[in-house]
């Protein structure tokens, strides 16, 4: 099975090749996110080396105090004691300083990594095409950007510094022990054998379990987000109890896999402590034996024991690091999958500049089919001269929206080209294309923020005056003024406070202010009452002067402002002419128009 992108991302048991493939891409990502902070990483490494070296010298100085200082002091010379104790104090304070600075530096590094990764993932998901978002579901995208990133953050926060300082501490301790008493060190080396096997066991088991946690956690988030965004429907259809049952199962699944992981760690960690303590006993046996024989000083024995004990101290931290590493690794596997996804509507590699914009659109033998091969729009040609207003009509599912989305490049045609002013859309930069073509859909999504902010999304640098002008033009000014804080009213989550008709008006103002060459309106007035629609159409007359427009509307009132009507059925254009001609004729449109006129009364 292919592991390309997000394909099969919920698979738990991977084959060798799949494992290698997934590991390669997450390691690659790890390398990439570390690269920009490499220099800082080196500085923190230097800090940590210094601090651990200082920390390790502690027991060594204590050995000096006992073995040299005390006899000297007994003999009446207290200078050794003063020097060694002074040295001990100095190294402690220096160690404390370097550790504190190291912590700050490490936080800097990990925050920079997080920031970079957050931004990169956000930007990438924004680049991915609508098609990806439709199949992957928003909940999963959110899970990737929240809980998965959290587990990487956990690794960086606690783990990163713990690991480096832990390893170094152990290294320095080992060096100190070797110089102090090499044979004690050999005993410690033997303890590495059980250590190795224990770690192997832990690694094998956790990898699978952590993968399960990621999947379970994403499912939990998907369900949570869906219930909260659809809360009205949940309540209206009394779905609460059923939701609670579903959620309960999901919570339990997540709890169970999580508990499993924690239990594994609950065996691993005491295992490490046990190995450490047994080793200390052996060091004591061997050292004590030699003290009795008179081969070893008591001070050295104490230091050896101190070293042996402290050698295993960071073990717990290391184990914790390894634990968060395993968890973060599963998250990296998933995130790297999303980052591997290529937008099915790729950006032009060698873009053709577009200037000056006129708005002439051509479909050249265009065909569109879904990735499953189902043809939605069979081959067709169409030419929309600059400045023309086209009404696109036909039954639901005739392919009108698809055609419009091809112009807005939400999709690319499966064959043929769509051209704007003679340039293939695929050759345009996204910036040029979006400046030229704006699409307003029925789903008038508002972002949290003020009404003014939502309108200026069409032109972020717009002044308040421009915002008001555009709102007036579409007849939204009045109702906006009646909101609690006028243009500065927070529209809240999903625009709960403003009605759907008002939402459409705001999104109209948004399009108005964007000032595009080509405007596509896909059922953009469906929720408006007739007076508002009339107002919008009046505004449109000004707006559309000198622009190309494609208007999809079931209410044929739009026709009155159209230069041309294109009738579609089953993905094919069946009529295409001036409105008056079609109305006068006997075709499909004439019938639709009559039915619509009749519906008005």
């Amino acid at each position: 099975m292919s592991m390309q992108g997000v394909k099969n991302e919920e698979k738990i048991e991977l084959s060798k090749e799949e494992q290698a493939r997934v590991r390669e891409r997450s390691l690659k990502l790890l390398g990439e996110i570390i690269k920009p902070v490499k220099n800082r990483l080196f500085i923190s490494l230097a800090l940590v080396i210094t601090s651990q070296a200082l920390r390790v010298s502690g027991p060594w100085l204590i050995a000096l105090i006992i073995d040299r200082g005390i006899p000297d002091a007994m003999a009446g010379d207290s200078s050794t004691v003063i020097w060694t104790v002074g040295g001990y104090l100095a190294t402690s304070i220096a160690a404390g300083f370097t550790i504190a600075y190291f912590l700050r530096f490490a936080a800097r590094v990990s925050q920079d990594i997080m920031f970079g990764l957050r931004k990169r993932l956000f930007r990438h998901t924004q680049r991915l095409s609508v098609e990806f978002h439709e199949t992957y579901t928003s909940g999963r995208v959110i899970a990737r950007q929240t809980s998965d990133l959290d587990s990487i953050k956990e690794l960086l926060d606690s783990g990163g510094s713990e690991m480096i300082s832990g390893i170094l501490f152990m290294l320095f301790t080992a060096i100190a022990l070797v110089t102090l008493d090499a044979s004690s060190f050999l005993i410690m080396l033997v303890s590495f054998i059980p250590l190795f096997f224990l770690t192997r066991w832990f690694q094998k088991n956790t990898r699978i379990s952590y993968r399960k946690t990621r999947v379970a956690s994403a499912k939990l988030i998907v369900h949570f987000v869906e219930s909260m965004t659809g809360i009205r429907a949940v309540k209206a259809f009394r779905k609460e109890k059923r939701n609670e049952d579903t959620y309960k199962d999901l919570v339990e699944d997540y709890r169970a896999v999580n508990a499993k992981v924690i239990q594994l760690f609950g065996i691993y960690d005491p295992g490490l402590i046990m190995i450490g303590n047994i080793t200390v006993a052996f060091v004591l046996l061997w050292g004590g034996f030699r003290v009795i024989e008179g081969d070893l000083g008591i001070g050295v024995l104490i230091s050896c024991i101190l070293y042996a004990r402290s050698f295993y101290e960071p073990m717990e931290n290391l184990a914790m690091f390894y634990n968060s590493y395993q968890s973060a690794n599963s998250a990296l596997e998933k995130i790297s999958g999303v980052l591997e996804e290529e937008p099915s509507v790729p950006e032009a590699t060698n873009p053709t500049p577009l200037a000056p914009r006129k708005g002439h659109i051509q479909f050249n033998t265009v065909e569109f089919a879904y990735s499953n091969g189902k043809v939605v729009l069979p081959k067709f040609n169409m030419d929309i001269p600059a400045g023309q207003t086209i009404a696109l009509v036909g039954t639901t599912g005739a392919g009108k929206s698809t055609l419009a989305k091809l112009i807005g490049r939400f999709y690319d045609p499966s064959a043929g080209t769509v051209e704007l002013d003679g340039v293939d859309l695929r050759q345009l930069t996204d910036d040029d294309l979006r400046k030229a073509v704006v699409m307003v859909t029925q789903e008038a999504y508002l972002f949290s923020g003020t009404v003014a902010e939502n309108i200026s999304l069409g032109k972020p640098e717009a002044t308040m005056e421009e915002i008001e002008i555009s709102a007036k033009a579409v007849g939204a000014h009045e109702f906006i003024l009646s909101l609690p804080d006028g243009y500065n009213t927070d529209v809240n989550k999903r625009g709960g406070r403003v009605s759907s008709g008002q939402r459409q008006l705001i999104s109209f103002a948004r399009a108005f202010i964007a000032d595009p060459t080509v405007l596509i309106l896909d059922e953009a007035t469906s929720s408006l009452d007739i007076p508002s629609e009339r107002m919008v159409q009046k505004g449109l007359q000004t707006l559309l002067a000198g622009r190309t427009a494609i208007i999809i509307a079931h209410r044929l009132s739009t026709v009155s402002i159209a230069d041309r009507v294109v009738v579609m059925e089953h993905g094919q254009i069946i009529e295409d002419d001036e409105p008056a001609v079609l109305i006068a004729g006997t075709g499909k449109f004439a019938k639709m128009h009559k039915a619509w006129r009749d519906s008005l009364v």
Partner: protein, 590 residues
């Protein structure tokens, strides 16, 4: 809300952790025992060293080695025991909290959800709760155990040598002050960081839900910049946190070392004086070393505790919210609903509407007889949707009452009320589930015929042609369907619920004229037997209803037949008709 201190805030979580408490207590005892065994090791070593100094024997050595080995093994067993005791119950507590939070959120009224960004809710349900779990099964246990160990350690130190112990204790005492100061400073920052993380989650959510709008305006980079700005703020807060923690860490790791250094100095002096043996000093040093980690760890356990406190606060911010729209204590019941829906002098305003503004719904009287269907007409923003939402108590009237078959709907349980009244919303929210389950949401026990009939009425037979027919899973929010298709599924869902009252909010807005006509024909048969309130914008939809109510300035200003109102009411004509009084099309051009 009154601000509680750290301890009292954290105590609030214990009722939710009742079942886990015994094991947490046992786990703490295990942790303490583990530490005690670790503390005992130096005692044996000290004795050994002294006995070697006096009279070196293998017996003494072996005894010490076995003691050290035994204590060491016991220590690791205790750690195993602690983890085993505490960790699994911790996950149960987390799961319980998560379910409680979810249930509470579902119980809270729509107005609450309007106010709260969903990312803030999500961050509470995910990272906050796992923070609480980690604290309960790790932070709390170790904090108690380490504190206890430190106290015992001091007592042991005193028993060895009271002068050294006093020096050690006095030098260490500033740590208390530093710890308390830290708690105050750190709390505000921790809170800020958790809130900012919630804001980020909100941005992420909106960027995904609004992806089409962002794409059509080409605002991907604009949104990324905005997001990056927020992320940068969070980064700043996290760095501030790290700075505080690093400072605390400095004190907690350096001050014990300074204390030990002074003790060494005095200890050597005492040995010289003959008041202390080398063995006793060694034991003293070893014990301070054993205490090193518990003391060190206090710093980070403290920050963890404060993080947990903030998470608990955020959890209770939701849990403490009063459910304004709740079930009555003794709900009435309507045995055989007829569907007589009456709005009696109903008024309604959103809680945050400006004071000087009149109520959005300002004294509506509307009597819909059983089986009657009424179209609700009014200009955009006149309150039509809000009025329909009052009927199922998605929002609550702020004056007057809504009655169903003579019973005030506030006297019914929400469950029952919503089983009598079914709604089709304008934005047709569908759930990621099969078509079948989406349609049967309001009445899961329906038969196949009911299902087929509902789909037929809503002209949604396209569902049979989907890859798996009615068992096709439609994407989250039904996004893989077109707007018209989604609307028809949502309509079928309302119809399939077979309610006494149907509330339809502009149910045909996304349909083309042909389909609309077909749906209307089919709906008529349903509406003959069902009471209905239909929000309409078009004359064609109005024709579905027996009567029309005109909502104007918060009141019903006209009620009657479509044709009568068309002839007599100018505002009505203005709202609903594209034709002027003479029956000519109002041209936009003039």
């Amino acid at each position: 809300m009154k601000k509680l201190g750290t301890v009292r805030t954290l105590l609030r979580i214990f009722p939710y952790a009742k079942k886990a408490l015994p094991r947490i207590v046992l786990g703490t005892i295990a942790a303490i025992s583990g530490h005690m065994f670790a503390l005992a090791i130096p005692e044996f070593l000290g004795n050994l060293i002294d006995s070697i100094a006096v009279n070196a024997t293998f017996d003494a050595l072996l005894l010490a080695v076995f003691a050290v080995l035994g204590m060491g093994l016991l220590e690791s067993v205790m750690v195993l025991l602690r983890r085993w005791l505490v960790l699994t119950p911790g996950t149960h507590v987390e799961a319980g909290l998560r379910r409680t939070l979810y249930a509470k959120l579902q119980d809270l009224e729509v107005a609450f959800h309007d106010k709260w960004p969903s990312g803030q809710l999500l961050s509470r349900a995910s990272s906050d709760l796992s923070m609480i779990r980690r604290w309960l099964s790790f932070g709390l246990v170790l904090l108690v155990a380490n504190m206890f160990t430190i106290v015992v350690g001091f007592l042991v130190l005193y028993s060895y040598n009271w002068i050294l112990a006093t020096i050690f204790f006095v030098v260490m005492s500033p740590l208390w002050v530093l710890g308390f100061k830290f708690e105050k400073e750190y709390h505000a920052t921790a809170r800020m960081s958790q809130d900012q993380a919630g804001d980020l989650a909100t941005s992420v959510e909106e960027s995904v839900h609004g992806i089409r709008v962002i794409k059509s305006f080409g605002r991907g980079s604009f949104m990324t910049e905005k997001f990056a700005n927020d992320a940068l703020k969070l980064r700043g807060t996290e760095l501030k946190k790290a700075k505080m923690v690093s400072r605390l860490w400095f004190y907690f790791s350096t001050i014990p070392d300074i204390a030990l250094g002074l003790c060494l100095l005095v200890g050597v002096w005492q040995i010289v004086q003959g008041d202390l043996t080398i063995g006793a000093l060694s034991s003293f040093i070893l014990i301070t070393r054993v205490l090193h980690w518990p003391i060190d760890s206090i710093g980070f356990l403290l920050s963890m505790t404060i993080d947990a406190r903030t998470a608990v606060e955020r959890f209770f911010e939701v849990i403490d919210t009063k459910v304004d729209i709740s079930d009555p204590e003794q709900p009435k019941s309507i045995a055989e609903p007829k569907g007589h829906l009456v709005f009696e002098n109903v008024s309604f305003r959103y809680a945050d509407a400006p004071k000087e503004q009149r109520d959005l719904i300002d004294g509506v009287n509307l009597d819909i007889q059983p089986g009657e269907s009424v179209a609700l007409i009014g200009i955009t923003g006149s309150g039509k949707t809000s009025l329909t939402a009052l009927a199922t108590r998605l929002y609550e009237v702020t004056g007057g009452s809504v009655k169903l078959d003579g019973v005030d709907i506030r006297d019914l349980s929400r469950e029952e009320l919503r089983s009598h009244i079914a709604m089709a919303f304008e934005d047709s929210t569908l759930f990621s589930d099969t078509i079948r389950n989406n349609v049967l949401l309001g009445r899961p026990e329906s038969t196949e015929e009911d299902l087929a009939q509902a789909l037929e009425i809503a002209q949604a037979s396209f569902a049979y042609d989907l890859p798996d027919g009615l068992d096709t899973k439609i994407g989250e929010e039904g996004l893989s369907l077109s707007g018209g298709q989604r609307q028809r599924i949502a309509l079928a869902r309302a119809v399939a619920a077979k309610p006494a009252v149907l509330v339809l909010d502009d149910p045909l807005s996304a349909l083309d004229v042909d389909t609309e006509a077909m749906v209307e024909d089919a709906l008529r048969t349903v509406l003959k037997a069902t009471t209905a309130l239909i929000v309409a914008h078009r004359p064609s939809t109005v024709q579905l209803a027996d009567k029309v109510a005109l909502l104007q300035d918060g009141k019903i200003t006209a009620f009657g037949k479509h044709s009568d109102l068309l002839a007599s009411n100018e505002h009505y004509r203005y709202v609903i008709s594209s034709l002027d009084a003479a029956g000519k099309m109002i041209e936009v051009n003039n």
